[in-house]
């Protein structure tokens, strides 16, 4: 399943097995996937279909049992642990369902952390973090602890953190899974702005609202990609017939 334009992220025959012999479970089964620069791709499927495992493979959080993975024309599935850790820090941004913010750090400090780990100066990290807080609409929450933020605000901080090292791609695992409808809209609005600014984004989700914001949607069943839908294009206001405005 290929996207248009240059593939920033490319997977070929990607496979992940757990267990052995009789107990072997193929969590990801021969997945071919291209993600184009600037594209938002959603991966949808029921729980247990392997979509989170796939995202972990794509982000180098886990190693495939077989197959090849390329990021920006660089093969990454066989990198050393050290090189892979560097790649995850510099080139890939992660967003998780449960936010994974440090409770004892302020919003700004949480966002700064990956920059400091990547060797930026405290001053650079701080300047960048404040700019990102502004970008996600939380400039006035810089010194708040996560506990003092709403769910939607926490996820926006987590998204800012994912962006601090200017990654090539952001991978999000059920980013609205812990959010109510209003907070979901906050996050979708932010993704939409980032998409317009050229961000490449892969989102794993079972939330139809999130899937509907993507340019392209792939469905996953039992570890394999089974269906692809391009959502961009088509007529405007295609939902208008849901309200009856004509005299019947």
């Amino acid at each position: 399943m290929s996207g248009s334009g240059t593939a920033l992220l490319r997977a070929r025959g990607l496979r992940k097995d757990y267990g052995k012999g009789e107990g072997l479970v193929r969590a990801v089964d021969e997945v071919d996937l291209d993600v184009a620069t600037g594209e938002t791709l959603a991966v949808m499927g029921p729980s247990g279909c392997g979509k989170s495992t796939l995202l972990h493979l794509l982000g180098g959080l886990d190693r495939p049992s077989a197959g090849e993975l390329w990021l920006n024309d660089r093969r990454i599935d066989r990198l050393s642990e050290r090189a892979l850790a560097g790649l995850r820090r510099q080139e890939i941004g992660f967003v998780f369902q449960a936010f994974h913010l440090m409770d004892e750090l302020t919003a700004r400090e949480n966002i700064e952390l990956p920059a400091l780990l990547a060797g930026r100066s405290p001053r650079q990290a701080r300047r960048k973090a404040l700019a990102l807080l502004d970008r996600v609409g939380l400039a006035d929450r810089a010194n708040h602890l996560p506990a003092a933020l709403s769910g939607g605000q926490r996820q926006r901080v987590a998204i800012a953190r994912a962006l601090i090292n200017d990654p090539l791609i952001v991978l999000a695992d059920e980013p609205t899974g812990n959010l109510d409808s209003a907070a979901t809209l906050e996050v979708l609005r932010l993704f939409d702005q980032l998409h317009a600014a050229g961000l490449t984004l892969v989102i794993v989700t079972h939330d139809e609202r999130v899937a509907a914001t993507a340019d392209r949607l792939v469905s996953m069943r039992d570890g394999a990609l089974v269906d692809e839908t391009r959502l961009t294009g088509g007529g405007r206001r295609s939902f208008a017939d849901l309200i009856r405005l004509e005299d019947s």
Binding site: S181, D192, E208, D227, L231, R237, F239, L242, I243, L245
Partner: protein
């Protein structure tokens, strides 16, 4: 447009056509663009003939068009009709049975794979959801239009979940065959 909607919009105060249209547009947001400019005058004409609305003419147009000489007022019968309409309990019926029977007929006759039909339908609904969401993001939070769009989004979500159930069910049936 349903005549009662126009009638009820007029209950606030005697109004001209373009004022009613502005009120409708505020309430509908981007969906109001689908309203034909002339439609409201057609409906007002019908209401006048039915004796539910009376017309007072002013000597000079007070609105943007020549026809905006007319000020529309509810008659007693019109007020009565508005009260009845507000008290009515009605709800648009989604026609799920037709789609359901389509799947059953397709499978029974071996004409088309029901899952293919479900997939096509899902694609269409996801596109609609995408459009509705974009509109929802574009209107101000807490506006009348945002509330309507939220309802449309929730309804599409419910339909998409049902399609998921359809797919799961027909996948199991296919394996059994």
């Amino acid at each position: 447009m349903q005549q009662e909607v126009v009638l009820a919009m007029l209950a606030k105060e005697p109004s001209q056509g373009y004022q009613l249209r502005a009120r409708m547009n505020d309430a509908l947001g981007p969906l109001g663009e689908a309203l034909n400019a002339g439609q409201i005058y057609v409906t007002l004409g019908r209401l006048e003939k039915a004796g539910l609305v009376a017309v007072e003419e002013t000597p000079e147009p007070t609105g943007p068009a020549d026809r905006d000489r007319k000020v529309y007022v509810l008659t007693a019968a019109g007020q009565q009709r508005v009260a009845e309409w507000l008290a009515e309990v009605s709800w648009p019926k989604p026609d799920l049975a037709e789609f359901h029977l389509k799947l059953i007929a397709a499978a029974a006759a071996g004409l088309t794979d029901p899952i293919g039909i479900v997939d096509a339908q899902r694609r269409e609904l996801l596109r609609r959801l995408r459009d509705a969401q974009r509109a929802e993001m574009a209107v101000p939070d807490g506006s009348d239009a945002a509330l309507l769009l939220e309802g449309i989004v929730l309804r599409l979500q419910a339909d998409l979940r049902w399609l998921e159930a359809c797919e799961a069910n027909w996948t199991i049936r296919r394996r059994k065959r």
